[in-house]
């Protein structure tokens, strides 16, 4: 986990040193696009969902702050606001910019790189407040910071809730 953390810390550091907003957005876009290009593996997600529901522990419950993917989230869980752990509630807009974390999934003992997007454009959801800060950094390391409003660059920049989206696995 350390090694991939370091990669992301360095990439985010170089990001934050850039000064034009457009270049930061473009760089983040590259990271996100790269992740989205990872192949969708052939997995029976319904059986996984059923199994995880059976386990039903807080670590497995996307409506719980203890859910493994939320290791550096700060805000209201979209899964309690009409969205899910990786979808925005109806009528809100995802933030195109984001902060990045690495969370450990105890179910498969893997570390995953996740992006914490905000969902924007409606007033604060107010449910399931969750503030976790594993490897979170202050604002001068912006892409690892969860204190800023990541809806800042949206047309409607009000903050509603936060999601955690798997970008890929971080092999040790």
């Amino acid at each position: 986990m350390r090694s991939i953390d370091r990669v992301f810390e360095q990439s985010s550091r170089s990001l934050a040193q850039r000064t034009s907003r457009r270049s930061v957005l473009a760089a983040l876009g590259r990271v996100l696009t790269g992740a989205a290009l990872l192949p969708l593996l052939p997995i029976d997600r319904s059986s996984r969902a059923a199994a995880s529901e059976a386990a039903a522990s807080a670590l497995d419950n996307p409506q719980s702050c203890e859910y493994w993917k939320y290791c550096a989230i700060d805000g209201f869980l979209c899964s309690c606001c009409g969205g899910s752990s990786h979808s925005c509630p109806p009528g809100t807009a995802p933030s195109p910019i984001t902060w990045i974390g690495t969370c450990h999934n105890p179910a498969d003992a893997r570390d995953y790189i996740v992006s914490y997007n905000d969902c924007c454009g409606k007033t604060s959801c107010g449910n399931c407040e969750c503030n976790r800060n594993e490897h979170e950094k202050p604002m001068y390391r912006l892409s690892r910071n969860n204190d800023v409003n990541w809806c800042m660059a949206n047309a409607d920049s009000n903050y509603h809730c936060s999601v955690s989206v798997i970008l890929g696995v971080a092999e040790p």
Partner: protein, 381 residues
């Protein structure tokens, strides 16, 4: 959590090689939820957010899954209603240019209920009635051609809006009578201090064609009616402070007032009272009336119910009393019932917890803690 993490780590020591053989979780794609077709057990919960009153909102809540499905911003002191077909939520509200202060903009906003996205707005003159939610702050005509919005400045009038063209058609003076009780395609009634009802009939362009004042049907001095009327099969019913039920038939050009009846016995009268922010709910098909009731005297008309009483609208018989203290519920200040064949009752307490009951048996099915900050009104199709 620490214990669970430890368990997971131990599990890993034993089983990790096996677990690792499984393929990793796939990459996820961030999407925006859409709502499926509306369900009978969905309810729109109007949260006044009184302690942060510029931040009112409507929470869409599913009475089956007990999940929040989404949210609609509602500004300051909003009036909220649904279109007759349930497809649109309308919010009449006030915004200030600087959050809690600054230039005032009154507006009606339209939300598509399948996406919870805004589809348009109508800017109003700054006259919108700033008051607590009822069905009559903002209401559609039966055919959805007109939308009416109550004005109080404190002079009272109402606006006639065109929801299709998103325009204001006219403002109609109501001579001191208040609120917009819609009937048919072109009639608006208002409640008057004299205990009468003023009914204005509109022409095809939304202008006044005629008006008529009814005989008094209640006495504002001795037993005023709550303005929180409830839709019935052919009109609305209004409860009085002392528990009289005034059923008003709005199917004719002028409202017809049926003989009032009482939900309390003469022994109970004045001791047990309805009260709260939304004082009754009616299942129109079954003809069952649900009323939060409390023990109290004069001035207790906003106290919440410690029991819910259930009545048969035809026989006027009390069918049940549901005591709430057994469920450790605070007093109930707002109520609603779904209109389907397996109906459920929503009851909001003064702590803004929402209890869900089987409407037929009174069985408590769920308590949703803190559904909003001050949820005082429910809407459902």
């Amino acid at each position: 959590m620490r214990t669970e993490l430890l368990s997971a780590a131990l599990l890993c020591l034993l089983g990790c090689p096996l677990v690792r053989a499984a393929p990793p979780l796939p990459t996820e794609h961030l999407t925006v939820e859409k709502l499926g077709p509306a369900k009978a057990h969905w309810v729109y919960v109007v949260d006044e957010a009184f302690f942060n009153e510029t931040d009112a909102r409507v929470d869409l809540f599913d009475g089956d899954s007990y999940r929040r499905l989404g949210q609609i911003d509602a500004g300051f002191n909003p009036g909220v209603n649904l279109s007759p077909d349930g497809s649109t939520t309308v919010v009449a509200t006030t915004y200030f240019a600087r959050g809690g202060h600054g230039a005032r903009t009154d507006v009606v906003e339209f939300t598509d209920n399948s996406t919870l996205s805004l589809t348009g707005e109508i800017v109003l003159p700054p006259k919108r009635a700033n008051t607590l939610p009822t069905y009559f702050n903002l209401a559609y005509s039966a055919d959805s051609h007109f939308l009416y919005v109550a004005y109080v400045t404190p002079a009272s009038s109402f606006g006639v809006l065109d929801p299709a063209k998103k325009t204001v058609l006219d403002e109609i003076d109501t001579a001191g009578c208040v609120l917009v009780i819609p009937s048919g395609p072109n009639r608006v009634s208002s409640l008057c201090e004299s205990g009468r009802m003023l009914t204005v009939t509109l022409d095809a362009d939304g202008h006044e064609a005629s008006r008529a004042l009814s005989e008094p049907f209640f006495d504002a001095d001795t037993d005023p009616v709550f303005v929180q009327g409830v839709a019935s099969k052919d009109g609305y019913l209004f409860l009085s402070f002392l528990g009289q039920v005034h059923e008003v038939d709005f199917s004719a050009p002028q409202p017809v007032f049926r003989a009032p009846w009482s939900i309390v016995t003469s022994a109970e009268k004045g001791h047990w009272r309805p009260g709260g922010q939304t004082v009754a709910a009616l299942h129109r098909g079954l003809g069952r009336l649900y009323v939060p009731m409390h023990r109290g005297g004069e001035g207790s008309h906003k106290s919440g119910g410690t029991e819910i009483w259930v009545f048969d609208l035809k026989t006027h018989e009390r069918l049940a009393r549901w005591p709430l203290s057994a469920h450790k519920l605070a007093a109930v200040i707002a109520i609603q019932v779904s209109q389907d064949d397996a109906p459920i009752v929503f009851a909001a307490t003064e702590k803004s917890d929402v209890a869900v009951f089987d409407a037929l048996t009174g069985q408590l099915k769920h308590i949703e803690k803190q559904l909003g900050q001050t949820s005082w009104f429910f809407l459902n199709p």
